[in-house]
């Protein structure tokens, strides 16, 4: 496998992990909204908290994490951009 292909394999892997986490915070937990709401977080019912703040914060953290991971992958295979590109 060429360098480019290996890079793309890893990139795809990261994309799939990112979308799995996205699915959990965007959909999976809200399938069980009424069960979630029986517990609480910081005094808020949990399902309410997750859509008011929890999932949104999770998405922000997820995208920062994804960007850093992808930079590492690019570095590993020598595809980092030069500053003057």
């Amino acid at each position: 496998m060429s360098n480019k292909e290996k890079h793309w394999e890893k990139t795809k892997g990261l994309m799939i992990i990112t979308l799995i986490i996205w699915f959990v915070f965007g959909y999976l937990i809200f399938m069980f909204g009424s069960d979630l709401n029986t517990s609480s977080f910081m005094g808020y019912p949990l399902a309410y908290y997750m859509c008011a703040q929890g999932s949104i914060i999770a998405f922000v953290v997820l995208i920062f994490w994804f960007a850093n991971r992808q930079e590492k992958i690019d570095e590993e295979f020598g595809f980092t951009e030069k500053e003057d590109d």
Binding site: W22, F25, S34, P45, C51, A52, I57, V60, F64, F66
Partner: protein, 612 residues
């Protein structure tokens, strides 16, 4: 004062600007104490901020193609994040979102999840690759990846339909705010709004829009957060509302069961003469509706908004302006961070507003008190007079019940500062914030349409030999034409029949989502497949909308997929048709496959030249 080039000085420039804006707020507060009228303060707030944006628009004028279309590709990560956040958060987010949560509770909050989660798709599937491609517009990518003018043309059609649906609502919002703040008729307010919007974009295209959007973000976030924190502290709900309103949310649940959540019969509401658009609270604030169908409706709405986000050209094109692919990725993260500052505050504002009004133990509470007494309150009178609030004593006991208090959703943002007894300067600030939110989104949308028409239709299809001067002239002329068309439609007050903002997301996802992502992620995707997918997706989505929308054919929704969610049908059809047709046609040639390989690595030259 500012040595060196403009980009290096950005933090200083916007720091000074923010400081200046805060000084302006303080001056207005002093003027209020000195006896300046509320009306004058409102006018000064809107006029002052709009003049600043116009000045930035003028200073950013340009005669270069890449500056006009992609801001010269030198917008730093964090600033592009702010600009995208302003581009994203519309007048509706600013003025109506808290109201939506106030009335819709948990069910409505599917929008919050949907309007933020889409950025995960943008960052992992699209933004870095489109940046590497080096296109000026979204159809530019479709046209080059799949080849041929017809594919490009189809993408322009989807883009125009989705963005135009959205832009009339934004111009409508600028008109409403301008007319209220400047005390002029709505029809005139719309045109004042349009002129303000064009001042920001005409001379400098994307470059001007970028730098005004950053300025508009700063105004709108200050205008949103100050009231939330101030109200929470003043009324003693907690120093940092986001972490401290748990008790209030629980108390709302108690009050809901005490007063009862009554859904008024439509006939009673009509008989009582409640003005159109006003609602009473009938849905639990934090309670989750039982059953699989309710969960599916929540999830399907979030899905449409997320996929729609990743297909809306005015958002995607913001990531064409970063200096590198790496910066494009990071910039998506910053965008969502800046958006989250407002989105996580909206539920808090809704909670504060609701508890202030419905808790009879609080001095601000009105529910459960004698109506005669409530009618003496100044703000109640003021909002009833302009038909934004209404009292209907259904049971005739002279006491205001929860289901007897009607108001418009916008009132939550616009009146809560007044209810909590904040000075008028805050209401002026909120008007300036709403104006900034609506203007910035309208600018992004009008520019997206005008750029697609001028670059993809005029330059790429009609006259590929046109020189730079002529191209930019056409681009600017189109900007005016599209803005005027939007304003004309808004001034006719028919936006309610043009449907919801959500439609823009559904149109975009029906026609563009799969052609965009498969263009990067599936080498086998062919021109015929993409064209068939775009046409079939848009056609089936639109047909389903007509089939299901109450004002058109009004048939029963299939599996709960109503007119807010028609993109699910459109995008599914688009995917199936695109895959089947691609597999039936010959695979793309070597050159195209190589191009896709190149797009997938960040280093190296962009596919399209710096100026094209």
């Amino acid at each position: 004062m500012f040595k060196g080039n403009f980009i290096d000085n950005l933090p200083k420039i916007y720091g000074t600007y923010t400081g200046g804006f805060i000084v302006f707020i303080i001056l207005m507060a002093i003027a209020e104490q000195a006896g300046m009228t509320a009306k004058t303060i409102g006018i000064l707030f809107v006029a002052f901020t709009v003049c600043i944006y116009a000045l930035i628009g003028y200073l950013s004028r340009t005669v270069q193609v890449d500056a006009y279309y992609v801001a010269g590709r030198q917008v730093p990560t964090v600033f592009n994040g702010m600009a995208t956040a302003a581009d994203w958060m519309s007048g509706a987010s600013f003025v109506a979102m808290a109201g939506g949560i106030y009335f819709g509770g948990y069910t409505y909050m599917a929008f919050l999840v949907g309007w933020t989660g889409g950025y995960v798709l943008v960052s992992s599937l699209l933004a870095p690759y489109l940046r590497k491609f080096g296109c000026y517009t979204v159809p530019d990518f479709i046209g080059t990846r799949y080849g041929g003018n017809f594919a490009r043309f189809c993408a322009v059609v989807v883009l125009t339909l989705a963005s135009f649906t959205y832009v009339t609502a934004q111009i409508n919002a600028t008109g409403t705010i301008a007319s209220r703040a400047l005390s002029i008729p709505f029809e005139l307010g719309v045109w004042v709004g349009l002129v303000s919007i064009l001042l920001c974009s005409m001379l400098g295209g994307m470059r001007a829009v970028t730098w005004t959007q950053v300025a508009q973000y700063i105004v709108l976030i200050i205008a949103y957060l100050i009231p939330v924190f101030w109200i929470s502290n003043k009324s003693g709900f907690g120093f940092f509302p986001h972490f401290m309103l748990g008790e209030e949310v629980a108390r709302l649940g108690e009050l809901e069961s005490q007063f009862g959540l009554v859904k008024n019969a439509a006939a009673d509401v009509k008989a009582a003469g409640v003005p159109g658009g006003l609602k009473s609270i009938a849905v639990s604030h934090a309670g989750v509706p039982e059953g699989g169908m309710a969960a599916w409706k929540f999830i399907s709405l979030a899905l449409c908004m997320m996929v729609g986000t990743a297909s809306l050209p005015h958002i995607l094109m913001r990531y064409f302006t970063t200096p590198s692919v790496k910066a494009a990725r990071k910039s998506v993260a910053w965008s969502l961070f800046f958006i989250a500052l407002l989105y996580t505050s909206a539920p808090m504002l809704a909670t504060l507003s609701k508890i202030s009004l419905i808790d009879p133990n609080l001095p601000t509470g009105i529910i459960g008190k004698p109506i005669a007494e409530i009618m003496q309150i100044e703000w109640v009178n003021a909002w009833i007079n302009v038909k934004q609030a209404f009292i209907a004593d259904f049971n005739g006991d002279g006491i205001l019940q929860l289901n007897e208090w009607f108001m418009r959703g916008d009132v939550v943002v616009l009146a809560t500062p007044e209810v909590a007894g904040l000075p008028y300067v805050i209401s002026g600030l909120v008007a300036a914030g709403g104006m900034a939110a609506a203007m910035s989104t309208a600018d992004g949308l009008i520019l997206a349409i005008a750029n697609a028409l001028s670059h993809d239709i005029y330059y790429k299809i009609i006259d590929p030999k046109a020189d730079v001067r002529k191209r930019l002239l056409v681009a600017r002329a189109l900007l005016i034409v599209i803005g005027a068309a939007g304003a004309y439609i808004a001034s006719m007050r028919i936006t309610s029949i043009l449907g919801a903002v959500a439609w823009a997301f559904d149109f975009a996802m029906s026609g563009l989502f799969f052609p965009l992502i498969l263009g990067v992620w599936w080498k086998r995707a062919t021109r015929q497949g993409a064209i068939a997918g775009m046409i079939a997706g848009l056609a089936s989505g639109t047909a389903y909308l007509i089939y299901v929308y109450p004002k058109f054919m009004g048939n029963a929704p299939w599996l709960g997929i109503d007119h807010l969610r028609f993109g699910i049908i459109g995008a599914s059809v688009c995917l199936v048709v695109m895959v089947v047709v691609s597999l039936m046609t010959e695979e793309p040639d070597k050159a195209t496959q190589q191009m896709v390989d190149e797009v997938r690595v960040p280093s190296g030259k962009t596919i399209l030249g710096k100026q094209h």
